[in-house]
Symmetry: C2
Subunit: 133 residues, 2 copies
Amino acid sequence: MTEDLMTIREMCETYDVTPRTLRFYEAKELLFPIREGQKRLFTKRDRARLKLILRGKRFGFSLEEIRQLLDLYHVGDQQLTQMSRTYEIACERLADMEARREELTQAIDDLKEQLRWGEKVIVSMKQEKKAAE
Amino acid sequence: MTEDLMTIREMCETYDVTPRTLRFYEAKELLFPIREGQKRLFTKRDRARLKLILRGKRFGFSLEEIRQLLDLYHVGDQQLTQMSRTYEIACERLADMEARREELTQAIDDLKEQLRWGEKVIVSMKQEKKAAE
DNA sequence: CGTTCGCATTACGTAAACGTCATCTGCATG
DNA sequence: CATGCAGATGACGTTTACGTAATGCGAACG
């Protein structure tokens, strides 16, 4: 069935994006679908990249930042020096992400505390209301 | 010194934003500086809100989403029904954030694996180079 | 064989989140 | 008193990330 290649429509349904979005990502060199005549055919690689793009977006990365991140995932043909540089960048990114998770954890804890507080307020408001009746 | 009130300039330096940004946030009802004549004076509350705004931005929330989140933090005057609704929204947000953290953890693990792989490649490339000499 | 479908390209439009510029205004200071 | 800031207020510009026609084109279908 999906013999490793997907049409634009299949991609859209699978990943819940519009055709326009996929074409846009191609224009921005985030995806590189092959062409059968005019039509685009998206490979396994494109799909992996798209998943990473969507994930990146959910964390507030710009498409340009995501493009740089994506480059970390298709290393293999590069020179040693390039490779090492890429490796360094990836390490930095990793540190970023771990810091982000720390912050997110903090935010979650904060919100949880607010919720506990809100819960108490709601309960006491209910009590008041009852007493007033 | 900072007798609980800060000028726009002080805010900018403290939080590394531009005046325009602060005015913009006020226009969007994210901040409510008090006025001394014309001038804005930012309170402790504004500063707490700004910190949350900046944090939210780092996680890719839109300003509108952030505004809703901020409302969760100044509850207290609301009616019970409003309050309960707010509470529900907050719970959903919390779930979002926890899901986000899950995803982030996954992303971190993925990248770590890539790094281990990259490390191996680099080592083998160095070996090759050595052998070639 | 005409038409509909799916996909393509080109081009203009739009919402969000500010940047930038021009102009105005108190106020402090030499 | 002139003048120079710090901050205010529009108003228009800009970038990002697509949306939305308008138009064209090859294959498939009735």
